[in-house]
Symmetry: C2
Subunit: 623 residues, 2 copies
């Protein structure tokens, strides 16, 4: 046999999983029992002491031990992949007419056909695999071989080729398979000349692989058909469950029932002594050791898979799925506020009524079970009168079912402002499917979909303030209403008025620019400004630190530093405000020191309150 062509992916040498595999290999490689397959003369030459184990993860990490780089022929482990190829090419219905999906108690080389449909029982017995091999595209032997090798090379993530000696040996001695093929020609299950089909079938069985290759091929199945090393799709996602199902029910020949009971992972064995298994979403496993048992399964392979499945808790029905974690946490709008700084009156309204706003942080994949639980909770909260913001930022994926259910939830909204709002729903990204479902519906989505949680929350806050009969920017402006001028006498305020310059900015104008010298501070009379970090963006939008409306001030640090501005302040709409020159204030202060110390104290109180609120928010967010 050729020297092994080792997969170039880095292989881990230590760590708890590599250690585990070393221990396992040490024990397994000493197991006796079984015999090297002898019905193909070339296979009989295999060294019975060879033993390799490899695991590949769905993100392309490989763990390998022992003779994991030794090349051997794939044999029957090829069957599920060519079955997937057939499904991809002709669809489920057509393929089902030729090959069933029922397990059989018969051996792998059984010649019995299903007497109701005259078709092989399933694609994992030779008869079924031969029928399936007919579907490999190509006008000539060479074309078919090229297409077949292309399939396996994509699956393994490297160029594979055929062991010509084994191929010839199988072809020259495969009389039973010949008998099977002719019988199927007789019943119409195959249509092209048997020798032509057997040629590609024998070659398919003689593809040379290593344990690492098979582990990657298993990981490709586990990864919904995408090879985790190359990122290339090898088989359509749609048919992966079909492939795994027949592996699970028929992959280990007439040991399949016992296997799915004891080991419980979809697997396929080959007579050269290999077993490949796929754990959906997690890993591919491959074991290679030539001695096989009475069922045709590698003795050490069965033992190793049984231990790995047990020790790693991989049985398909030993699930870790739990819908209980879909709601990461719920926050109420009294303790978590939007970044819009509010006037004292507005603050009071939100202190009283803000708890009506509920943020539900969703986490993890959305599928039927998790979506059901989420929808149920959202409806419960809405029924209690809450305005519910579903924060979907931590949802890495959503399946069709969950997208449809959530879309129906939003669509079902009554007239009036929506009670359930979705945040973080960019047109692309992991939730594109949900957005498409929503846009296909009839509901007006304004007020129901937001780019960020903060925007959704601000919308909810504005609604509450409006419902309490206060429009956010109706406060009448006067210096006495400005927070940092609290505790000053009417006389003091008159002195300050002399220092104030009325200013107007159009929407979009930058009022303060980061890095500029700080010589003025501002009090807002009308409109809204945003404090933004210069240059920093999130999802293409500037990052907003705060938003402020009438009665609030910005740029107060100028009073102390005389230094540089630390952020941009931008007008979000037409803004009327008063600018106070620091120098003039300091002049007033020299004459009336108590004015300055009162202002300082007010600023510190404001900062202190904002700091306390920020600490509250940190505590709420940290959980």
């Amino acid at each position: 046999m050729d020297a092994a062509i080792f997969n170039t992916q880095p292989v881990s040498a230590d760590g708890p999983i590599a250690d585990y595999l070393s221990d396992l290999h040490f024990r397994i490689s000493r197991l006796g029992g079984g015999n090297v397959a002898s019905y193909i003369p070339e296979l009989a030459k295999a060294d019975p002491n060879l033993c390799g184990i490899a695991i590949a993860t769905t993100d392309g990490k490989i763990y390998a031990v022992g003779d994991a780089d030794h090349a051997f022929t794939i044999q029957s482990v090829s069957k599920p992949f060519v079955y997937g190829y057939a499904l991809a090419r002709y669809g489920r219905e057509t393929v089902l007419q030729r090959v069933g999906v029922e397990p059989t108690g018969e051996a792998f080389n059984s010649i019995v056909l299903d007497d109701k449909h005259n078709r092989p029982f399933n694609p994992m017995v030779n008869a079924g695999a031969i029928a399936v091999a007919e579907t490999i595209r190509g006008k000539s032997d060479d074309e078919r071989v090229a297409n077949m090798l292309d399939l396996f090379s994509r699956l393994a993530g490297r160029q594979l080729d055929i062991d010509e000696a084994v191929f010839r040996s199988e072809r020259d001695t495969g009389h039973r398979n010949r008998a099977i093929a002719y019988m199927m020609l007789n019943t119409g299950m195959i249509r092209r000349p048997p020798e032509e089909i057997l040629d590609i079938y024998f070659r398919q069985c003689a593809v040379k692989v290593t344990c690492v290759d098979l582990a990657v091929m298993g990981a490709t199945l586990a990864n919904k058909g995408i090879n985790p090393l190359t990122g290339q799709r090898a088989l359509p996602e749609e048919y992966i469950p079909d492939i795994l199902t027949v592996m699970n029910s028929c992959g280990m020949y007439n040991y399949a029932g016992q296997w799915s009971y004891e080991v419980g992972i979809p697997a396929k064995s080959g007579v050269a002594g290999s077993i490949m298994a796929a754990i959906p979403g997690q890993i591919g496993i491959a074991v290679f050791s030539p001695p096989i048992d009475e069922h045709g399964n590698s003795v050490r392979g069965v033992a190793a898979c049984r231990e790995i499945a047990h020790d790693f808790g991989l049985h398909v029905f030993k699930t870790s799925v739990s819908t209980s974690t879909v709601i990461r946490r719920e926050l109420d709008g009294a303790s978590v506020r939007s970044k819009r700084l509010r006037s004292p009156v507005e603050r009071q309204i939100l202190d009283e009524h803000g708890a009506r706003n509920r943020i539900v942080e969703v986490q993890g994949p959305l599928y039927f079970g998790s979506a059901e639980r989420l929808i149920r909770r959202a409806r419960e909260l809405a029924a209690e009168g809450a305005q519910v913001v579903l924060d979907l930022r931590r949802v890495p994926s959503i399946d069709e079912t969950a997208a449809k259910l959530l879309a129906r939830l939003i669509d079902a909204g009554e007239a009036g402002p929506p009670a359930i709002l979705l945040a973080y729903l960019p047109p692309d990204g992991p939730l594109a499917r949900l957005r498409a479902e929503l846009e296909a519906g009839e509901t007006d989505l304004s007020g129901a979909i937001f780019a960020t949680r903060d925007e959704a929350l601000e919308w909810c806050e504005n609604l509450i303030i409006a419902q309490q009969g206060r429009s956010p920017d109706m406060t009448r402006f006067s210096l006495s209403g400005i927070a940092i001028f609290r505790n000053l006498s009417a006389e003091d305020l008159k002195r300050l008025e002399a220092a104030a310059r009325p200013l107007m900015f159009e929407a979009g104008a930058t009022i303060i620019r980061e890095g500029d010298a700080a010589r003025v501070f501002f009090a807002i009379a009308r409109g809204t400004v945003a404090v933004q970090l210069a240059g920093a963006t999130e999802g293409g939008r500037p990052i907003r630190v705060a938003m402020m409306g009438p009665g609030l001030t910005f740029g107060e640090m100028a009073l102390f530093d005389g230094g540089k501005r630390s952020a941009d302040v931008v007008a979000l709409e037409r803004v009327v405000c008063y600018g106070f020159a620091i120098e003039t204030l300091h002049e007033i202060g020299r004459e009336h020191p108590h004015i300055l110390t009162t202002i300082y104290a007010n600023v510190v109180r404001d900062f202190s309150e904002r700091l306390r609120r920020a600490n509250d928010e940190i505590r709420a967010l940290e959980y």
Copy 2:
């Protein structure tokens, strides 16, 4: 038949899932085909138009539509549960000697035994179920019936009873089952008198249930054996995968292969026209409609299950498992700091070297695939020289595999300070298993396990500061080193020194109490204090807002407010500090106003910096 005893659990009338089921029911209930079972005379009386569908979630929510509250006899749907009972009572090995786990192409009432072991092929055919029924404990018929009913009542979450008419009808006409039982007595597969075993078997088949009951029983399997309505365990978790495996491979008689291919969920049908299915971690499903097909499966039941499985994406191999979300995010210790406020020198060290500290926020259940990914990343970071804090607060569960792997990761630490630290590992709670594994190991766990992330982070920060040759509390005290006295002349400082009173507090002493009048502020010379919210605790510990050491001040708000203290400040060790009486300071200020305005400006700068840092942290945490 008796009037239905409806489950008292609230049943949902609307919402997207209830709507879906109504639509489905409308279509399915109009499907023709099939015949009501006639081999038991009493069953032949069933109304073929009945049609009910129910779904129960693993947290006990029930969706039901149509005749979901109509009572019927459970028939073969009882088989998987009694099989589970047998496993629980005698263990896997003993039960396997009497009944195999291989699917068979034969019909449900097949009399064929596995010729290698002389045992029934599996517990879902009558022969296997009769052999299993022998295991029901009891010295008399009455005791056995009571035990059997107890099992089913636990599974359904309400007291069930037997339909005596159906029982008598089955007993009087069940000659084929009698033949099967005597044949098994002949081969030694059963040992007690066949009539005794058949008596309990026929009664088991005649237990009266509704669709809602069966959905709850399915949800109990989906919920690892715990009834989601009552919270009571009905079957041991250990054997749930066994039960689901035989349901999956043999539950739909000789339609099983096609079923697991097309529908792909573990299910069991009964000849009264019911099908029960269990989706691990998610739901139980039940459909009831009497007409059955040639295989003995409810025609409308098969159709409904096929649609539900497809529309809800429930095929067992259509997994939503993804290991890619196990790491919620990584934070670096330069932007996220512990709550210990640092001196300027320490701050500078952490600005420079703090990024060596890495917080890895872990989310979702830990099982092999997710643990592997997490461990890999942790080792990668450690290899780059990082101090890695694994924040496990968002891990709702950990299986044995993941606990062992993580314990090995911590155990494998080299000599010297551990590079990988675990935070949030209380002795009980969801991670108790991991803690037990760790404590069983040989490694000294101090410095490796922390109650909170903040404590772990502080430990890492202290290590970095120590490595830079600065012990956290070695700063020599002088007024000039105090941040809020910056920019004051030596002369000014001398004036302040006269106002300072040296004070000492023992560990645990409360220095400032929330609500007290604020008349003094403090500068720390030695030791550490914590700012705590009075009365508020989290996990039995007071909530800490900040921690402070030498050179830092607390209680400065007294300068402005003359109001009340807003939090407790407690000495964490012996603390030496200087108290400054506000009145004295104000006296100094009247003579030297610049001293007070400089201090005010310094305080505002400090607050401003802390606010900026808090906003940074909020931004980091919000993602």
